[in-house]
Amino acid sequence: MIEAFNLTKQFGELRAVDDVSFTAKEGEVFGIVGPNGAGKSTLIKILSTILTPTSGRAIINGLDMAKEPQKVRSIIGYLPEEPRVYDYMSGEEFLNFFSDMYKGDKKRIPELLEFVGLEKHAKRKISDYSKGMKHRISLARALIHDPPVLLLDEPTMGLDPASSRDIREKIKEMRREGKTILICTHYMDEADFLCNVLAIMNNGKFAAFGKPEELKAKLVKGRLLSIVIKENELIGKIADELGSEVDGRSIIVKTTDVSAALSKIHSTAKKFGANVLSIKTLDPSLEDVFVAVTRGQKWK
C-alpha cells in the first residue's frame, strides 16, 4: 500500500509536484495520466526514493520513506521511463547483478526470463537486444526481488503494439497476484485497460481523481453528437453557429439535452442550406476526460 501525504517537490522556481495526497491499495493499479511536464515522473522518483520531497511524506507498506529509505527500497520495484541497462552484460548477468543487490532468490532469474519471454536470449549481450526486449528485461529487473509494490513510469512508451500488449498483460497478471502497482502513462487506452483508480495530473497537482468510469461520468456530463454534412465548405460556418468543434470532416456538438440540440442542428443546417448526411452519438473516452481536465474546463 502506498500512502502519500501532501507531497511537494520544488526545483528552484518550479513546483514540479504540488501538495499531492493519495492512497493506492494492494491489488490495485493506480494510474497517473497527464501531459508532459505535469510532474508524473518526479512523483514516481520521489516514491522510489531517488528524489527527496521538499515537504510532505509517504508511507509504503507501513514504512516511512524518509525514516527507512533502505527498507522501502527493498520492497519497491521501480521501472524508469526508458530502459536502463548495462549494454555490456547479458540479460542473465544483468538480472544476476540486481539479484545480488537485493539479495534476491536466484531461482527467480529463469522464471522471470520466461515471464518476460526472454529465456532464449538470456545469454545474449543486452546491446544486441531490440528496444522491446530491453523494456522487457528492465521489467524483469524491477521484479527481481518480488517486490509487493511496483512503480512503473511509462512501461510501454515507444513500444510496438505487440510488445505493449505483452507488458500490459503482465501488469494485469501482477495485479491479480495482489501487488500494489502505481503506473504513469501517456496512453489513455492503457490507463482504461489497466487501472482501477486514476488520477489526472496537471501542473504538479491531481486535477481529477477516481475510478475511470466515475471520472468519465463526472467530468464529461452530457453527450457528444458527431454530425457529417455534405457541403465541406459549410462545416466551419455551421460549427461556429452551433458553438462547437470540428474534428476532421465531423462537427462535434457537446450537449446535455439531445433533443434540443438536434432541433438546433436541423434549423442551422436549413439556414445555411446544408444537407445533413449523418448524426451519431459518441460515448466520452478517457481522452475526453483528460482533455477536459487538463484544459481546465468541464462540459456543461
Binding site: 522518483k45 522510489s48 526514493t49 531517488i50 528524489l51 527527496t52 533502505q70 527498507k71 527500497r73 527493498s74 519497491i76 521501480y78 524508469p80 526508458e82 536502463r84 541497462v85 548495462y86 549494454d87 555490456y88 547483478f97 540486481f98 545480488d100 543487490m101 537485493y102 539479495k103 529487473r141
Partner: protein, 505 residues
C-alpha cells in the same frame, strides 16, 4: 552488505573488459622493455662529462674564515662553498664590500664559531649559507647534501624510477571513470539509487574495486620492474607509496567523474588532474638534484621511490602519506557529496552550492562541514602554491618577501572562499566556521611541513592558531559585510607571523 556484492561486480567488470586488460598488458610490456634500455642509456652519462653542466658544481656561496678548525677543511672540499682563509680585519672588510656571504671566526678559547653574514634574498644562497652556518656553529652533521660526488648516473636513474613506475597508474585508474560516468550518462544510476545500497556505498564500492585492482596489479608490477633492472632497497615501502598515489589518482578520478556530465568530459578532466598530480610530484622530486633545494624534494612522495633506487636508506615519509590521505579524504568527501546531490541523478553538473549542500547532507552538521572545508581548501591550495612558486621563480629572482606574500595570499583567499561557500550569517557563526576552516587548514599544513622544520611549537602549533585566527577574522568581516577589508587584514596578520618566523630562523 550490498557493498560487497557491488565491489565483486565492479571488479568483475574491470577484469572481464578484454580491451582494457589487453591495453594494460601491452602498456606493462612496453614499460618493461623500455626500462632496461633507458638504464643502459643512462650508464653512458659518466661523471665529469655532464657534471660540469649541472648547477651542483657551481660555488653558490663564498665565506671568509678566521682561525683553524677541522670543519673548515671539510667545507673546503665542498663544490658549493668557496672558503677564503684570512684575518679578522680583512674578513669584515670583504663582508662590508659584499665580496663574501658570511664571516666565520673560530673562538680560540671555546673552539666554537661566531660570525656575521650579509642579508640574502636568493633562496639558494641563503639555504646553503644556512647549512654552512649549522655545520660550523652548531657542530651538526650536514643537513644538506654538500658532497661534490652526487653520482650522476644513479641520480638520473633514481629520477627515472618514479616516472617509469608511476606512469601505468594513468591507465589503471580509468575503470572508476568508466564506472561512474557510464552509470550516470546512461542513467543506470537511477535504478542503482532505487536499490537498498546507499549512495555512499555505491561510490565507495567503485573506489574500492578500482583500488583492489591497483593493489593486485601493483604487486605484479613492482616485482616485474625489479626484474627489469630497477632495484629498490625497500620494495614494500615503494609499494605503499605506489598505492597511496594510486588511491590519490583514483579518488581524484572519482571526483571529476562525479562532477562531469559525460564519459568524455570525465576522461578529459581526469587526464588533466592526473597529469597535474604526476607532474607536480615528479618536478618536486627533481629538486633533489640541487643540494640547496634537496630538502624541499621531501615534499613529494616520488622522492622516496627515487631515493630507494639511489640506494639511500631514507626514512619512510609518513607525514607526507598522512597529508596525502587528507587530500584523498577531501576528494572522496566531495565526490560522495556530488553523488548525493539531486543534480547527479539527473546527469546535470552540480554547482558549488549544491556540492556543499550534498556535503551537509552527508555530514549532517555545519560545524563538521566547516572543518572538512578546511581540509578541502588545503588540498586545493597546495598545488596552486607549488605552481605559484614556479611562476615567481620564472619571472624574477626569488624574493623572499614577494614569495611569502603570494603564498600567504593564496592560503587566505582559498580559506576565505570556503567561508563564502559555507555562508555564515551571524558574527558568532563567522568566527566559529572561520576558526574551524583555519584549524583544519593549519593542521594539514603542519603535518606536511613536519619533517622540514624542527621547531615544534613555532612551526607546528602556533601556525594552526594563526590560521584559525586569520580565517576567524575573515569570518567576522564576512558576516559584517566587510569581506575584502577583513581578507586584507587576515593576509597581513598571517604574513606578519611568517616574516617573524623567517627572521627567527
Amino acid at each position: 552488505m550490498e557493498i560487497i556484492s557491488l565491489v565483486r561486480w565492479e571488479l568483475r567488470n574491470i577484469l572481464f573488459d578484454k580491451k582494457f586488460m589487453l591495453s594494460i598488458i601491452i602498456g606493462m610490456f612496453i614499460s618493461l622493455v623500455t626500462i632496461p634500455l633507458l638504464m643502459q642509456a643512462v650508464s653512458y652519462f659518466k661523471e665529469g662529462t655532464l657534471l660540469s653542466a649541472l648547477p651542483v658544481s657551481i660555488k653558490i656561496i663564498k665565506i671568509a674564515t678566521v682561525g683553524e678548525h677541522p670543519a673548515i677543511n671539510e667545507l673546503e672540499k665542498d663544490v658549493m662553498v668557496d672558503v677564503v682563509r684570512t684575518d679578522e680585519k680583512n674578513a669584515f672588510e670583504m663582508l662590508g664590500k659584499k665580496e663574501v656571504h658570511g664571516v666565520f671566526i673560530v673562538d680560540s678559547n671555546s673552539g666554537k664559531f661566531y660570525g656575521r653574514g650579509v642579508g640574502l634574498s636568493n633562496l639558494a644562497e641563503s639555504s646553503v649559507r644556512n647549512a654552512v652556518d649549522r655545520i660550523l656553529r652548531k657542530d651538526v652533521k650536514p643537513a644538506f647534501n654538500l658532497t661534490p660526488d652526487l653520482g650522476l648516473e644513479s641520480l638520473i636513474k633514481s629520477l627515472l624510477a618514479p616516472f617509469l613506475l608511476l606512469t601505468p597508474l594513468f591507465l589503471w585508474s580509468l575503470p572508476i571513470i568508466q564506472s561512474i560516468s557510464y552509470d550516470r550518462e546512461n542513467k543506470i544510476i537511477e535504478i542503482l539509487f532505487a536499490t537498498p545500497a546507499s549512495r555512499k556505498e555505491i561510490l565507495l564500492a567503485k573506489v574500492i574495486a578500482n583500488m583492489l585492482f591497483a593493489m593486485l596489479l601493483g604487486v605484479v608490477w613492482i616485482n616485474l620492474v625489479q626484474l627489469s633492472g630497477l632495484n629498490f632497497s625497500n620494495p614494500f615501502g615503494v609499494y605503499i607509496i605506489f598505492l597511496v598515489i594510486a588511491f590519490l589518482i583514483i579518488s581524484m578520478n572519482a571526483l571529476v567523474s562525479a562532477l562531469s556530465a559525460s564519459v568524455n568530459e570525465a576522461t578529459l578532466a581526469s587526464s588533466i588532474s592526473s597529469t597535474i598530480i604526476v607532474t607536480l610530484f615528479f618536478s618536486v622530486t627533481t629538486l633533489k638534484v640541487f643540494p640547496a633545494t634537496a630538502l624541499l624534494a621531501r615534499l613529494s612522495p616520488a622522492t622516496y621511490i627515487a631515493e630507494q633506487v639511489g640506494g639511500g636508506a631514507s626514512s619512510f615519509p609518513l607525514n607526507l602519506i598522512l597529508m596525502l590521505l587528507i587530500v584523498i579524504a577531501s576528494a572522496l568527501l566531495l565526490a560522495i557529496s556530488a553523488f548525493s546531490t539531486e543534480a547527479f541523478a539527473f546527469a546535470v553538473k552540480p554547482g558549488i552550492k549544491q556540492l556543499y549542500e550534498g556535503m551537509l547532507e552527508l555530514l549532517k552538521s555545519k560545524t563538521k562541514a566547516a572543518f572538512a572545508m578546511g581540509f578541502v581548501a588545503f588540498s586545493i591550495t597546495s598545488p596552486v602554491q607549488i605552481i605559484a612558486i614556479a611562476l615567481i621563480f620564472l619571472i624574477s629572482r626569488i624574493n623572499i618577501l614577494l614569495l611569502l606574500a603570494v603564498l600567504v595570499a593564496i592560503e587566505e583567499v582559498f580559506k576565505a572562499l570556503a567561508i563564502t561557500i559555507i555562508k555564515p550569517r551571524k558574527t558568532n557563526e563567522g568566527v566559529l566556521y572561520g576558526s574551524l576552516v583555519g584549524l583544519a587548514f593549519g593542521l594539514s599544513e603542519s603535518i606536511l611541513l613536519a619533517p622540514i622544520v624542527d621547531i615544534f611549537i613555532l612551526i607546528r602549533i602556533v601556525p594552526m592558531v594563526v590560521h584559525a585566527l586569520s580565517t576567524g577574522l575573515f569570518g567576522i568581516g564576512y558576516t559584517n559585510k566587510n569581506a575584502l577589508a577583513s581578507l586584507l587584514l587576515a593576509i597581513l596578520l598571517h604574513l606578519a607571523y611568517n616574516l617573524y618566523l623567517v627572521g627567527y630562523l
